[in-house]
């Protein structure tokens, strides 16, 4: 149930409650292209970097890898506002950066230039933004910094690392948001992947068939899929199923013949689904994604992220589970369960 928002006693402006919105936090480097500036920082240090930023304050940055995704979120919001003018169940994009406030004016100028609808930001001047993610009830965090992404995942917040957009970028829709998810270690836990890694493909298929009716555990992005589903239902309720501006895809290496069943049964038991489920039985994901044209594709394996990018899809890496090269702390899957179970 939506919480009634308070009218600010002072100004009378509506104070939207963050719990009602689907909050997407993006860092400055994924929203905009700051390659040149990043280079200056790495080569010449903080002072030169900030000096450069201030000198070029009126020059807007170009779009970064998350830019088309954010634009598509706004397109969905426009449609939602038409159908539900009083509702706060919208996407709320927050700029969450540990950049210095000296860059603030250039970032705001850029937001204005591109006509983005970003009203909230945190510039933490070098401190970790992770605490702020929780304070804003963040549903998804996108950053160029894998360490911050890992930290967020450990706190139970869906997060993914984004990279430079592919040279040859596939054109994406400006009116329909398309989000593609890998299955294991993204929507689901990495338990099956562990079997595959330890015992190979045959054992994996055997195991999945034997456990067909056992539900898989939650993965870090299950909650985000759930949020998308919630918004989709709002369009269906107004008879807009065919014309829904949100479309979701499961793109998995599982095979329809064997291991796919377990995945679908699990989704169904959660009350979730994706508009399309693509079982590639181990085939590369790039070509399929090229056809789908998602604004973003989440995968836990860099191999697939890179493969997607090679063929023009913006892919984000979810550094979770056994596929990661680096050893990790036990990840907060329990937290993820609790936070998505709590009324959002």
């Amino acid at each position: 149930k939506e919480l009634r928002s308070e009218r600010d006693s002072l100004t009378g402006t509506q104070r939207p409650k963050p719990q009602n919105a689907i909050t997407i936090a993006v860092s400055s480097r994924v929203l905009f292209n700051m390659d040149k500036e990043q280079q200056i920082y790495e080569q010449k240090g903080m002072e030169e970097y900030l000096k450069y930023q201030i000198e070029h304050e009126t020059e807007p940055f170009g779009p970064g890898p998350a830019f088309p995704f954010v634009k598509a979120l706004e397109a969905v919001n426009t449609r939602l506002r038409e159908l539900y003018p009083e509702s706060e169940e919208l996407f709320d994009v927050v700029l969450m950066t540990n950049n210095h406030a000296h860059v603030g004016l250039r970032l705001i100028n850029t937001i204005n230039h591109h006509r983005l609808f970003i009203e909230r930001f945190c510039m933490t001047g070098g401190n970790s933004p992770i605490g702020y993610l929780k304070a804003y009830h963040t549903n998804l965090y996108l950053s160029a910094d894998p360490m911050k992404v890992r930290e967020a995942l450990e706190e139970g917040i869906a997060a993914a690392t984004m990279f430079n957009p592919p040279e040859k970028r596939t054109e994406v829709s400006e009116t329909q948001l398309r989000v593609a998810f890998d299955g294991d270690a993204v929507l689901f836990s990495d338990e099956s992947e562990r079997i595959y890694k330890a015992h190979g493909l045959d054992k994996f298929f055997e195991h999945e068939k034997a456990h067909e009716n056992t539900l898989l555990d939650h993965g870090p992005l299950k909650g985000f899929l759930e949020s998308l589903g919630k918004l989709q239902k709002k369009f269906y309720a107004k008879g807009q199923r065919m014309d829904c501006p949100i479309r979701t895809y499961l793109v998995t290496a599982r095979s329809a013949a064997s291991s796919g069943t377990r995945a679908l049964k699990t989704l169904r038991s959660w009350g979730l689904d994706t508009d399309e489920a693509l079982f590639l039985a181990g085939a590369p994901k790039g070509p399929m994604l090229e056809k789908i044209r998602p604004h973003i594709f989440f995968d836990d394996q860099m191999f697939h992220v890179e493969g997607a990018a090679e063929l023009g899809t913006v892919a984000a890496h979810v550094p979770y589970g056994v596929a990661q090269k680096r050893p990790q702390k036990k990840l907060a899957v329990e937290n993820a369960k609790d936070s998505s179970a709590a009324a959002k």
Partner: protein, 284 residues
């Protein structure tokens, strides 16, 4: 009439050059529930304690950079307490090694006058009423932010946050507030407060520039609570025009303030006149 007592344990600053800050005694030492006659133990630490310690760190670093530095914090403890408590206050300050230059004992009614006559650049209190009264009389004042968990407030870096909703608003926007029910007195109060904030911001800008971008013992920030990003941008520009480039900036656009403030952990918040906004009160 006030009685000004110099602290013999602390080197006196050049008050004309220093950043004179007056802090209410009730903020430095927790007011006692029961007045015990003849009690001598040191008073308990109050809300302003970590602020006092952080100020000390800033002063020490300034003097390390330049032993002849005059742009230092110069603290006056302002007390409305009864005479029998005076010596206990002075002894407590000594006990904790607080960098208090002078003790000013006066009646509550005379407080504002004392502040005005001592060239105070900032008056600090945890009481929003005291802060707003001072602001109305043209005395620069700021709120000591009350941390729900005092252990979280750092003592080795002073954090000063400026509220930017009024600073960043244009004249037309402020005129528009009239339609929202603000009185002329209140609107005049905003103008006065803006002037006071300006003075303090200039000083903070100067002090901040003594240190490098990283590892500074003084950290400054801007927060707009309900304004749009353009007002926040305007506030950033205004502060910059006054010589203050803030380290951190937050544009909340209506999001609840407490969770964010508890992460920002400022010691003081320089309100720009909208002191009765909920979320900025001492007990938030």
């Amino acid at each position: 009439m006030d009685s000004m007592v110099r602290n013999p344990d602390v080197k006196q600053r050049d008050a004309a050059q220093a950043v004179v800050v007056a802090v209410s005694s009730d903020a430095i030492f927790t007011p006692e529930v029961e007045q015990v006659h003849g009690a001598t133990e040191p008073l308990r630490k109050g809300d302003a304690f970590s602020f006092m310690k952080a100020i000390q760190v800033v002063n020490e670093r300034l003097l390390t950079l330049n032993s002849d530095e005059t742009l230092l914090f110069d603290v006056i403890l302002l007390s409305n307490d009864s005479e029998e408590k005076h010596s206990r206050i002075i002894a407590s300050a000594k006990h904790y090694g607080l960098d208090i230059g002078r003790f000013c004992f006066c009646n509550k009614e005379d407080s504002i006058e004392s502040l005005q006559s001592n060239n105070v650049k900032l008056f600090l209190s945890t009481d929003t009423n005291d802060v707003c009264k001072a602001l109305q009389k043209g005395v620069p004042a700021a709120l000591l932010y009350h941390q729900t968990d005092p252990h979280h407030q750092t003592e080795d870096q002073l954090k000063v946050v400026f509220s930017g909703d009024v600073i960043g608003s244009s004249e037309e926007m402020l005129h528009g507030l009239r339609e929202q029910g603000f009185t002329e007195t209140q609107l005049q109060g905003f103008k006065t407060a803006k002037g006071s904030v300006k003075e303090f911001a200039i000083l903070m800008g100067e002090m901040r520039r003594r240190f490098g971008l990283e590892g500074s013992p003084l950290c400054t920030g801007l927060m707009t609570a309900w304004s749009s990003r353009d007002v926040c941008a305007s506030a950033l520009k205004t502060l910059r025009g006054w010589g203050l480039l803030v380290d951190e900036a937050f544009c909340l656009a209506g999001a609840p303030r407490s969770p964010i403030l508890n992460l920002v952990r400022p010691h003081i918040i320089c309100l720009d006149g909208l002191y009765h906004m909920e979320g900025f009160t001492a007990m938030s």
